[in-house]
């Protein structure tokens, strides 16, 4: 009988070997995802195109694709990554999945839900790193660039061409957001419309005319916005009433830069233009609202945890339909809305177009593409509208009865569509995270009065230029 004693040394040796084995296993590449077969791949079924399929004349997916039959032979599932909090917020996704299950009963949808769009980026990174891919994810302007620029997403142009979809039916900003060099990396499915909402009760109490009259008179611009906001500002402390909301983040400040004739960066996105006089003045106008005129809340006011507009403390707010659930829950006043004011040099507005993006190596492309088409179709758009927090992604659907019936009595369809036609796409750099950090950091210092606009924008340019030059 052998006399083997288990010593600490031998046990640790065994665990060490185990660790090493696990390390090797973890570091080894998993086999690539199975490529779709030629027969099942929509991409390979259509000729490659270098331009988005703009030339096709058929309307965008105006009806749910008659593709139930086409799913035969395809993989019987697909994985859908989206962000939502459980409850009302998630309902739109559950309804879309229910519709999809009705159309494609043989395809199983695996839901991968994360709570917010920042988390969707982290989840996607982890899934990419572990070669455990979703097929389709809910993409948006601010999350798209890093993935587009790193070649992770599938060019949908050949699929669009094969299905003879008219991409001109989508808002131009959406096509600009997801387009690169004639390719399209997201099929738009909803738009975050942009407008200015206002508290009519506060206007009446201040004896001010409805902003619609100002718009009609052709006087709706930065000057009248500030003038009106000043008249609406009163009080102090925790009950202070502000005329206009604080405009934070690069995704909203950009509008004031564009309207002042400026641009954020050069066409190649290698150098920022934030010290150009037009940019500095645009930002200074916003900073002055907070620091000099005190008609917009400070950062600390905005940190109080309540929605200041819905709570009745801010009279005018740059917003979109995403604000409707808050208003429905909190607002105890009459609401009005107009398109965003004209700037000194342009009447450009900002927006945030959302889209379905499919992973380049997605194992279930066909099923994912069917889901994307369904989402952008009339039936999918009805589900989007039912959430009462988004606007349709399609021009033609914006004029439909379904759209008109979905609007609240104070909502103005023309103001939404006018804004969306004027929307400029925010061209986010691939280094978007670092750029946003720098921008937000300096903007917060300007809003707190610790830095004048010249110094803040100079520091923004200095640090953002360094970030833009970093390799991907």
């Amino acid at each position: 009988m052998s006399n083997h004693r288990i010593t600490r040394r031998s046990a640790l040796g065994a665990f060490g070997a185990l660790t090493l084995g696990a390390l090797v296993a973890a570091c080894s590449q998993s086999p690539p995802a199975a490529a779709p077969t030629a027969a099942s791949s929509g991409q390979s079924a259509a000729p490659a195109s270098t331009q988005p399929a703009a030339s096709t004349s058929a309307p965008a997916a105006t009806s749910v694709p008659a593709a139930a039959a086409s799913s035969q032979g395809a993989t019987k599932k697909f994985r859908y990554l989206y962000n939502a909090t459980p409850g009302v917020d998630e309902q739109v996704h559950l309804d879309l999945i229910a519709l999809y299950n009705k159309l494609y009963p043989d395809v199983q949808v695996e839901k991968i839900r994360v709570p917010n769009d920042a988390e969707i980026v982290r989840k996607l990174l982890a899934m990419l790193a572990s070669h455990d891919l979703p097929d389709l994810f809910w993409n948006r302007q601010r999350t798209a660039p890093p993935f587009i620029d790193r070649g992770v997403l599938l060019d949908l142009s050949p699929l669009i061409a094969a299905d003879k979809m008219d991409i001109k039916d989508f808002w131009p900003s959406a096509i600009q957001t997801y387009g690169r060099n004639g390719k399209l990396y997201g099929l738009p499915n909803s738009a975050s419309s942009n407008a200015h909402y206002y508290n009519l009760d506060l206007f009446a109490a201040a004896g001010l005319p409805d902003l619609k009259d100002t718009v009609k008179a052709g006087n709706w611009n930065w000057d009248t916005l500030r003038e009106t906001a000043t008249k609406l500002t009163k009080g102090s402390g925790p009950t202070k009433q502000f005329g206009f909301n604080q405009v934070s983040s690069i995704y909203s400040v950009d509008m004031y830069i564009w309207q002042n004739g400026g641009t954020l960066w050069d066409d190649q996105i290698t150098t920022s233009h934030l010290t150009d006089p037009a940019d500095v003045e645009g930002i200074r106008w916003l900073v002055d609202n907070v620091v000099k005129y005190k008609i917009s809340p400070t950062t600390q006011d905005t940190q109080s945890g309540t929605d200041l507009f819905a709570g009745g403390r801010v009279a005018i707010m740059m917003a979109g339909r995403y604000e409707l659930p808050n208003l429905a829950k909190l607002a105890k006043f009459k609401v009005g809305m107009v398109v965003s004011p004209n700037g000194p040099k342009a009447n450009t507005t900002r927006g945030d177009d959302l889209a379905s993006s499919i992973l380049q190596d997605a194992p279930n492309r066909d099923n994912a593409w069917n889901f994307a088409k369904m989402w952008s179709s009339d039936d999918g758009q009805k589900i989007v509208l039912a959430s009462r927090r988004s606007f349709t992604a399609r021009r033609s659907f914006a004029q439909s009865d379904a759209m008109k019936q979905n609007l609240l009595d104070w909502e103005d369809l023309a103001a939404y569509t006018d804004g969306l036609e004027r929307t400029k796409a925010y061209r986010a750099p691939a280094q978007t995270g670092e750029v946003n950090t720098v921008f937000d950091r300096e903007l917060s210092l300007m809003y707190s009065g610790e830095k004048p606009a010249e110094d803040g924008t100079a520091k923004m340019k200095q640090d953002i230029d360094v970030a833009l030059k970093k390799p991907l």
Binding site: M1, N3, H4, R5, I6, A11, F15, L18, T19, A22, L23, A26, C27, A118, V121, R122, L125, A126, L128, A129, P146, F147, R150, G151, V152, S236, G237, P238, K240, T298, T299, Q300, D301, Q303, S304, G305, Q431, G433, E434, N436, T437, D440, R441, E442, S444, L445, S448, E450, P471, L472
Partner: protein, 307 residues
């Protein structure tokens, strides 16, 4: 003699067999914890060391850059030195104050007054409270317009402080909140230490004419030295890793005023997609903490005495 050897051999084998069975049982009990430690702690830690030598965005194949991440971090990255300075400020602000206050609190609660257990539980509550809830609560307390703290300050004629919107005051605000949050933990450790000091020592000192201060200085402090050393080491390590409270309260702002090293790691990894660089920062932070811990370990021989 031979028969004695013959009879002792089976007993020896039996003892060895029993010892072996005992060892196997012992290691089997340890196995779940050891496997968990190896897979979920050791392996990721070793992996980050390898990752720190890569340029890797988690999307495309990584490229080996040797020590480039470390070179860039230590020689050219101004943000890193800024957030390291912020972190040191936080450590210096929280650790000594927290130790002193928790000792005072522990001594105050090391009595037999009525309701003392309820008081101990109340002081421990922040420790087990959610960091998110605590930070949101303190956002309200710090509000410059209607926060309770400014209400009290202005009530006694002092000016209101822009706690969270000023680069000067934001870090003190985080430090105060962190001390409040962690005080209860250190207090419980000190309380255990205090209750381990034999009362006979105090009685003997009293007979010898020692006052309360003298007893505290010559009995309590020296006998609590091992406890203090433990709290010091643990608090320093935890403070260098500050993230959640500052992230929720200020998001690192205004400007970079409350940005910390771990927040920078988070940003580099998940906002900027620089996983290799983030891993390098993590290892530099590890080296700093290890160095400080070693210095403390060496230094403890001079002031920590075990019975």
């Amino acid at each position: 003699m031979a028969s004695a050897n013959a009879s002792s051999t089976p007993r020896l084998i039996g003892r060895r067999s029993a010892a072996r069975r005992e060892a196997v049982a012992g290691y089997l009990f340890l196995l779940p914890n050891i496997v968990g430690f190896l897979v979920f702690s050791s392996l990721p830690v070793l992996a980050t060391l390898a990752i720190s030598t890569l340029h890797w965005d988690m999307i495309r194949a990584p490229t080996f850059v040797a020590l480039d991440n470390y070179r860039q971090l230590l020689l050219t990255d101004q943000t890193f030195w800024r957030v390291l300075a912020n972190t040191v400020y936080y450590v210096v602000g929280t650790v000594p104050t927290s130790i002193v206050l928790s000792l005072i609190l522990a001594m105050a609660l090391n009595t037999t007054i009525r309701g003392v257990k309820a008081f101990r539980a109340i002081y421990f509550l922040p420790v087990i409270s959610s960091a998110v809830a605590v930070a949101v609560l303190w956002q309200w307390l710090y509000n410059s317009d209607f926060g309770v703290i400014n209400f009290l300050l202005t009530g006694v004629g002092l000016p209101a402080i822009p706690w969270l919107s000023s680069t000067t005051w934001a870090m003190p605000a985080v430090i105060i909140m962190a001390i409040w949050k962690h005080l209860g933990y250190n207090m419980i450790i000190y309380l255990a230490g205090l209750q381990g000091i034999p009362t006979t020592l105090y009685e003997a000192a009293a007979i010898d004419g020692a006052g309360r201060w003298s007893s505290f200085r010559n009995i309590t402090i020296p006998l609590l030295a091992p406890t203090t050393f433990f709290i010091l080491v643990i608090s320093l390590i935890q403070s260098f890793q500050v993230f959640d409270l500052a992230f929720i309260l200020t998001r690192g702002g205004p400007g970079d005023a409350t940005n910390t090293v771990v927040m920078d790691i988070y940003n580099q990894a998940f906002q900027y997609f620089q996983m290799g660089y983030a891993a390098a920062i993590a290892w530099v932070l590890f080296a700093i903490i290890m160095l400080i811990t070693l210095v403390q370990w060496r230094g403890q021989k001079r002031w920590v005495h075990y019975e």
